[in-house]
Subunit: 312 residues, 2 copies
């Protein structure tokens, strides 16, 4: 008989979360953290299963981080389904120990020094406010954040690096798992951990794909059946480029041209198509060392990203 | 009979330092960190004594941080006297448990992914290099770092915030002690700890002064006896301004004018003289809440800083 589903403990308070982790560590247990923005799909659950294999206890954070949305991006309508998320996490073999669901990670309460006539800010400090006592410490990974997705979303990686730093300091995990679907984000987090001397192992989990090869994404539900069929041009052309490279086609312009052509012929609009060093994310002209081929493209109103590692 | 002087354990390796701290914590001991750049004087030792009162174990780091020096500033001739520092630390009542003296906190060794013809960078990565696999993650406290010392030293606080983040992640202290002589730095560290959710209590230790009132600084040794006498105009005029404010003189322009005049009459050259909110460090026009009066001035080739809190 299968074990009954494990009910995760839901924690909303920072201090309580940290105390839970410290108590687990005192008992000799290792902790893995999977940061998410909720609205979980099978891709997220693969990260949770990876976390389950890597540590004794698994914490999944569910927090839509305002710090990584530009004013033009629509934070307020970001989808959420917390009860649905809990159901999916219960069904993961071995379960999840804690779901950390903070209300506002940028709420720091009152000023330290009182006495001003204006009794200062109320509790709802926004990380986006430009003055006053709001959040103002930011972590940047200055080179890795510049290219690819950083070009079209200039505050995105600053927000990601900062909220991940905060989550690391609250949860104090031994291991943290990120999806390689967001390849640039994954490399940024690894660099951040190295450069700021966090004692955390950052695991990259492989891209999860649907039966037809489409990389899993919350955004896929917005694709019409026809757009979805066309969007397969991304994964199919990337796969062909990898095969070609493995057979000796090392000229990146040729490889990129064939991917761009395939996506455009299917009706997609290219945001970028780049072949970059796996660690520095610097563009290469010829493949002589491990690279990753990264693509972002629009199909209708949906922006999709995908990538494939080429280890020659 | 007094206890014999305690011999501090000198640790140079990051991993060894962290393991020492974790071992101490497993034994239920709390840890205080005092970050220094060495060449210790009585001001530093007052921080160590404060640390001694705040925690079971005291770690003093001695590291001249290249990340906070601009190319125009003279990192290579920064003074050091490690044996002298050890002697002073031995003499602190209760002693010091660990002196953490890393060689290079920005040395991250080899690349993760191999295979490139160039077997990558050697071990001596500089945090100041502009390309390659060097350090690139930086912490900025964006508003607090802008004014006062941040104006004349634009990379200074970025470097301080980043190295302190690294030291916090390596030493994992419960408490860290900073001197309020470097008032802006102290406020920046407090904000950093709040905004990045470090579980560390940041203590500000009061300005240490010589018998004549001069704020202690490593740079004081470069003052001639005559310059030193003139430099007393800083602490004396600040002290008079505080008394005037407490007697009802709340107009900041008047208070600043009298300090600037006193320092200039003594032959000093003002870098800045500002009366700012103690927490936001924003300039105020009238004193109605706790402020701090901060001054930087040159006497000969020596730049001195000092400040005084005014709590009306």
């Amino acid at each position: 008989m299968a074990a009954p589903p494990k009910e995760p403990l839901v924690i909303t308070d920072k201090a309580e979360m940290r105390e839970w982790s410290r108590s687990a560590r005192r008992q000799g247990r290792t902790i893995a953290l999977v940061p998410t923005m909720g609205f979980l799909h099978e891709g997220h659950l693969s990260l949770v299963r990876e976390a389950r294999r890597r540590a004794d206890a698994v914490v999944v954070s569910v927090y839509v981080n305002p710090g990584q949305f530009a004013p033009s991006e629509d934070l307020s309508t970001y989808p959420s389904d917390f009860e649905g998320d809990l159901g999916k996490l219960r069904a993961v073999p071995g379960g999840v120990d804690v779901v950390f669901r903070p209300q506002n990670l940028y709420d720091y309460g009152q000023r330290e020094v009182g006495g001003s006539g204006v009794e200062s800010d109320n509790g709802s400090v926004s990380c986006l406010e430009e003055k006053g006592m709001g959040h103002e410490a930011w972590v940047r990974v200055e080179r890795l954040e510049k290219g690819m997705c950083g070009k079209s979303r200039p505050v995105f990686f600053r927000g990601v690096a900062t909220v991940v730093t905060k989550l690391f300091n609250i949860v104090e995990p031994d291991v943290s798992v990120f999806g390689k679907k967001d390849y640039q984000q994954w490399r940024i987090i690894r660099r951040l951990v190295r450069d700021l001397d966090f004692s955390i192992q950052v695991i990259g989990s492989e891209v999860m794909r649907d039966h037809d090869g489409l990389a899993l994404s919350s955004r896929n539900v917005h694709l019409s059946p026809e757009e979805r069929e066309k969007a397969l041009s991304i994964s199919r052309s990337l796969s062909r480029a990898k095969s070609a490279a493995e057979k000796g086609q090392v000229n990146c312009q040729n490889l990129k041209d064939s991917v761009i052509q395939a996506i455009q012929e299917a009706g997609g609009k290219i945001d970028y198509a780049e072949i970059v060093d796996q660690e520095s994310l610097e563009a290469v002209e010829e493949i002589r060392s491990p690279v990753v081929f990264c693509v972002a493209a629009w199909f209708g109103k949906v922006r999709l990203i995908d990538n494939i590692e080429i280890n020659v």
